[in-house]
């Protein structure tokens, strides 16, 4: 358990380092929100100066960093120039949407990839395996951007699924059931897009993990003892093959978050992605900071969860 505590501490330290690094990057950046504001002839330079002082942008960066850290502790994550409110209030709703999307996509991707990979491994070298491998190779070669676009096209052509956004604009929905149904319909496209991007990666790992265990000599021994096929699979193969997959779960979260930001922009899902992109264009630096920090916090949390699961499932790690 001590080991695990150290992991958490390490993750926190990394997070602080990330914040320092990104703050430094943004501090040395040429031009900021107020420079863009100066270009506007309707705003006097005096107003800009006043605003600059009000937001503390005239102070050196270490002072701003400390101030920013204080606001992080309060859960505000700095102040957004463009929205004129604390970043925290902007962030939470968006983060919830991103987590919803990423969580559902992870679930779907694993639910498809596990049986698929296992099936491929069991039929290694046969036509089923080859067809599956070919399909994963093709899926892997299609970039996420394209997957999103193709899905949008399909939605536009068939007119069955609503493409874009998170809720419909018609006001007729009152009951919780109708609201949930509406949300579900809007969720389908981005979730499927994300899952399709993730599935080929997962299938490859599941397959190789399974194949490795299936070829072990103790499995052969079990087979020669006449142990049933399913018992071998459930009792002898899965518990061993699951370990590399658990660490993959943490790793896949990072890929998924990047993909999710992109997919949100394509599908105009109101998550962190569009917020971050808009902030980037407006040079609303604290929003960018907060977005970067939050997604790296998600990633680290994912890694920690995977570590925890591994700790729980693998007695060899517990023994160390």
């Amino acid at each position: 358990m001590l080991r695990f505590g150290r992991r958490i501490l390490h993750a926190l330290l990394v997070l602080v380092a990330v914040s320092l690094l990104s703050f430094l990057l943004l501090a040395i950046a040429p031009g900021n929100y107020f420079d863009e504001m100066r270009l506007n002839p309707q705003i006097s330079s005096k107003t800009v100066e006043t605003l600059k002082v009000k937001y503390g942008m005239d102070r050196p960066w270490p002072v701003r960093y400390v101030k920013w850290m204080h606001s992080v502790v309060r859960g505000e994550f700095g102040y957004s120039f463009a929205y004129n409110c604390p970043v925290g209030s902007l962030l939470w709703a968006r983060a919830r949407n991103t987590l919803l999307l990423a969580g559902l996509a992870t679930l779907l991707a694993w639910m498809v990839a596990l049986p698929w990979g296992v099936l491929e491994a069991l039929h290694k070298g046969e036509w089923l395996d080859r067809a599956g491998t070919l399909l994963t190779a093709l899926l892997l070669a299609i970039p996420d951007v394209l997957l999103g676009l193709f899905l949008l096209l399909a939605a536009a052509r068939t007119g069955l699924l609503s493409a874009g956004g998170m809720t419909s604009t018609n006001a007729g929905m009152v009951t919780t059931f109708e609201q949930t149904r509406d949300l579900a319909i809007h969720l389908i496209l981005p979730v499927v897009g994300l899952a399709l991007g993730l599935i080929p990666i997962l299938v490859r790992h599941v397959r190789s993990a399974m194949v490795q265990v299936l070829e072990a000599s103790y499995i052969q021994a079990a087979r020669s003892f006449g142990v049933g096929k399913f018992r071998i699979l459930y009792r002898h193969v899965f518990p061993v093959a699951v370990n590399p997959l658990l660490s993959l779960l943490g790793l896949s979260l990072g890929t998924l978050l990047s993909m999710s930001l992109l997919m949100e922009v394509i599908m105009s899902w109101p998550g962190l992605g569009p917020l971050l992109l808009e902030a980037l264009f407006a040079r609303d630096l604290y929003v960018v900071m907060a977005g970067v920090m939050l997604s790296s916090a998600f990633l680290l949390a994912g890694n920690l969860i995977a570590d925890g699961l591994l700790y729980w499932s693998d007695p060899r790690i517990r023994a160390v």
Partner: protein, 344 residues
């Protein structure tokens, strides 16, 4: 580290050449300039190649007709008045912006004043095929240069970290931890946020390569460090050290040769990854700017609803991208089978 020159690998070499040659010599293989506009022909469908003319005569040399707008906008038909035969190795008039006004030799083209658009035109009447080739050149160059930069960083840091160990190793690996703690798109965003939004296109391009390279060094560095760690404990390396060889000699003669196989595989894995980073940034409008094409730029056009649903030829660059990725995937797989297994 030899790669068997069998039929399968010959096919791979052929595919790689077929994918890269037209892109590298984009000026030669494209019939039109990437920025040459023809405002009379927005969203014209691909020009049809004909062999049989109106009178029913068969021509061995394919020819095209002139496209004219029929009634409403972007509704085209062929006016079958004049035939414009396709010719190979033609000289252009030299008005396209892709070169400095001098006439350029093209692989193919049609007789003046005919126009050939193999993949139709975009909203400004620019040739999608030519834009795809030029865009591929820019994206691919970005991918390759970024790979070069990231790998150089990774080699230097990874080797130093693995070879010298101690506090250097700790420092470098903590750096890796930080870079890996950020989702790569976020990291790209953050680094992009630092740089000014409006800059000249060539500068953008170089910045771009810089950004992707700086962001991408962490994972390869960790991999190389691991390899160096095992390599330096091999008996012949220890023997060499016992004979009094210098660090530099050991690195150059004993450590690096053990890493080269992995490096080659890494190149095949990283180029498409970084190319994708370029595509993503340009797609979001943060990368290479108009009128310069890149694969990401060309995909960004598809974000418009009307383009997505009505003009199928605008997908051609997307399909080219998938083909390029498949080629690289195949290369990576071959290298992994022939040399070493590498997992990023």
């Amino acid at each position: 580290m030899r790669i068997a020159w069998n039929t399968k690998n010959r096919a791979l070499a052929f595919v790689l050449l077929a994918v890269h040659l037209p892109v590298v010599f984009a000026g030669f293989f494209s019939p039109n300039g990437y920025a040459t506009q023809n405002r009379n022909l927005p969203f014209a469908p691909p020009t049809k190649l004909h062999f049989v003319d109106e009178a029913g005569h068969f021509h061995f040399r394919p020819f095209v007709y002139e496209s004219t707008e029929a009634g409403s906008a972007s509704n085209y038909q062929e006016s079958r008045v004049a035939r414009f035969p396709v010719r190979f190795f033609v000289k252009s008039a030299g008005e396209d912006s892709s070169n400095s006004g001098s006439p350029q030799l093209h692989f193919f083209g049609v007789e003046q004043p005919g126009l050939i658009y193999l993949m139709g035109t975009d909203g400004f009447g620019r040739d999608v095929f030519s834009r795809m080739l030029f865009g591929g050149r820019i994206s691919l160059t970005a991918g390759i240069l970024a790979t070069g930069l990231a790998l150089s960083l990774a080699i230097v840091l990874g080797v130093i970290s693995g070879f010298y160990g101690h506090w250097v190793d700790t420092m470098v690996m903590r750096g890796v931890d930080i870079f890996l703690a950020l989702p790569w798109l976020c990291l790209l965003f953050a680094v992009r946020a630092v740089l000014p939004l409006h800059i000249r296109t060539t500068e953008t391009f170089l910045l771009f390569v810089g950004i992707i390279g700086i962001v991408g060094w962490a994972r390869p560095a960790r991999l190389i460090r691991g390899l160096v760690l095992t390599a330096k404990e091999r008996n012949f390396v220890l023997a060499s050290r016992a004979f009094g060889a210098s660090d530099f000699h050991i690195l150059r003669r004993h450590i690096l040769p053990q890493v080269t196989g992995t490096l080659l595989t890494l190149v095949a894995l990283l180029i498409p990854q970084f190319l994708l980073a370029e595509v993503t940034l340009s797609f979001l409008g943060l990368g290479v700017g108009e009128p310069l094409p890149s694969l990401g730029n060309l995909l960004a056009e598809l974000q418009k609803y009307s383009v997505l649903t009505s003009y199928w030829w605008m997908y051609c660059p997307a399909i080219a991208l998938v083909v390029l990725f498949l080629a690289y995937q195949w290369t990576a797989k071959t290298l992994q089978d022939e040399i070493t297994e590498v997992t990023l």
